[in-house]
Symmetry: C2
Subunit: 359 residues, 2 copies
DNA sequence: TTGTACGCGTTATCAT
DNA sequence: ATGATAACGCGTACAA
């Protein structure tokens, strides 16, 4: 077995210095064109695959890629339309800058995050990962430029992370008020996991060991704002927690809300995915939406508009969120001045909401 | 400005050798636990971010990540449900192995593919990229373990690429035969780009400078098999080419097929996305599906079942394709024996097809 | 359990 | 236009 082919091998074969071969690849203008051709030719004959990216990255101090961390298993992320749209935005903004996107495996369960430690990247994008997740700590420990999305983090040892988010509370307030304006007073709430504790069932704000997710907290607070202002006792509104953020989970959570003596006339779901599940649960029980039950979501993923009936929800600019996050990170990496980005969240009224049958 | 903190800095501060500090991070069992704690403590005080991944990767010869190349701009890939499901499968299979997924920016337009050249990876996954694309050449030049999906490539200078695909021809034949069995004889075809030439409009097999995509070629061949066998003259069936693979493109392509004197009673779309667009084009013209027009797709993405009417199509196991591709690549990287993987493609009859109104 | 010595493959700098 | 030299930061025999 012969030794691995490197710049030196090629240099020796051509009879020039390593530097010249390097230039042939990385700075074509520093070279006589025909010498360059000769070098490339010999390299091809020798089976040289080009400058080693790891060595190159080590020497130059740049990686040409950014790492992405998700709050769930990677396979799941591609199941969540909101995450996919975010990724789309990131890709759109990153492509012109020629940066690769390194998706990191960091399941919430595993305390270690070897993928994060070994990632050859210039910075990190952290999507919707509440402070306290082990993978997030590993990211912060890398002390690289970092942007968190949706969930702000306590500043760590490294540079202060950038942040991109929306006004979840105002959005939630708007959709809850919409329901109240229609006349609803008996409402229920379906929420995704509120903290890494992985609880299911009746939500009880007390007793969480881990810090809650900002998004969950804010959306619930927005609902509370509106309901309280309308005289509906907020602790008293039934809230069911389920995960992950899927249609199936929404269906299950709605069951707990619906199968009681005096069911709500409207259900606020904290995400569209969950709301889609609530729609199914209503159908399971022969309940007409919005006749017997009004249902609202949050996010406005494409499926929301296509649902039957089309979902009243809160729109957030998901793709733009990805673009903004990527731009912010690129600015951070280039040491350009940056600022926090807050995107809007607007109520979108469609056909899944109507006045309650019996007020 | 002080010098950058490295293993050596920490070693000096603690009064041990570099090796020991390295072990503290990478081989905890080679160390007295309390010495390790002291080292880690000093490292934290010094602001040491841990072993540099580029240097580590250079030294060990492994990257812990695989590169992914797409046939379209990255931003677009997240728009294509089939691509997203593929990614989901890849992520599922890659996560247990702790491999990162490096999504590479390589727009078909750009002849250079710097992202590919600089990718610190152990292998490549190439999704649906026809031989001849510049980015693909760059991948092959890296001479790393590679798996191509859907489109086989001519063996290059490096190791022979693995391949994962489905029996597109059989699937296409089945769906075309289904239409023929229903009594259709006047059909039209809508296809995605057949080659990198980026043509739109009436398809003419001649005159392409670039090699055609295998998938497109095979699916058309499958249609031809069935139609010819039923006595329908294949060159004679109108075929319209559009791109990219989107609902909008399908709508536009269908218009060209429908707005003629003697329109087809059925349209075979080469992908579900395009078929969904055909459905829209039919609605635009007040044509009932399947009453006035039968429509078929290919892929069976989730939206196909949810369409109005639900789409008759050919199912391919998209997520499984991703898993298989990732497993194959991992095997290749580990120098385990591998084989080509062929997945099934099955006809799924739903409500978008029926006998023609007037035979 | 800890230290020594060397090499991983490249690019920046400066000289020629 | 080309070459010599010195980092870049780390892992791993091997010896102690």
């Amino acid at each position: 077995m012969s030794r691995r082919v490197t710049l030196q091998t090629v240099a020796d074969a051509v009879g020039v210095s390593r530097t010249t071969v390097s230039n042939a690849y990385s700075r074509p203008d520093q070279l006589a064109p025909d010498l360059r051709r000769r070098i490339l030719g010999v390299a091809a004959d020798l089976g040289y695959a080009g400058p080693d990216p790891a060595a190159r990255s080590l020497r130059r101090g740049r990686a040409g890629a950014v790492g992405l961390l998700f709050n769930e298993a990677l396979g799941y992320a591609f199941t969540d339309p909101a995450a996919v749209m975010f990724l789309q935005g990131v890709a759109e903004a990153g492509e012109p800058a020629h940066v690769g996107l390194l998706l990191l495996p960091a399941p919430p369960g595993a305390p270690e995050a070897p993928g994060v430690r070994d990632a050859v990247v210039d910075g990190f994008l952290v999507y919707s990962v509440p402070d306290g997740y082990p993978g997030l700590r590993a990211v912060l420990d890398r002390r690289l430029p970092t942007v968190t999305v949706d969930e702000p983090v306590a500043p760590g040892p490294g540079p202060a992370p950038g942040f991109v988010g929306i006004d979840d509370r105002a959005g939630a307030r708007a959709v809850a008020r919409h329901l109240l304006d229609l006349g609803h007073r008996r409402v229920g709430v379906v929420t995704d996991r509120m903290a890494p504790d992985d609880r299911r069932g009746r939500y009880d704000p007390a007793g969480y060991r881990e810090a809650p997710s900002r998004v969950g907290h804010e959306r619930l607070a927005g609902y509370a704002d509106a309901l309280t202002a309308a005289g509906v006792a907020w602790p008293g509104v039934p809230i069911v927690e389920e995960f992950p953020n899927t249609v199936a989970a929404g269906r299950a959570a709605a069951a707990a809300l619906l199968d009681v003596a005096d069911p709500p006339t409207a259900i606020l779901a904290i995400t569209d995915q969950l709301a889609l599940g609530v729609l199914l649960a209503a159908r399971d029980r022969g309940l007409a939406v919005p006749g017997d039950l009004s249902v609202t979501g949050f996010d406005d993923v494409p499926a929301a508009a296509l649902a039957d009936p089309p979902l009243t929800t809160v729109r957030q600019p998901l793709v733009e969120k990805g673009r903004a996050a990527a731009r912010l990170l690129l600015d951070l990496i280039a040491e350009r001045p940056t600022r926090r980005v807050d995107l809007p969240a607007d109520l979108v009224v469609r056909a899944s909401t109507a006045p309650p049958r019996s007020p």
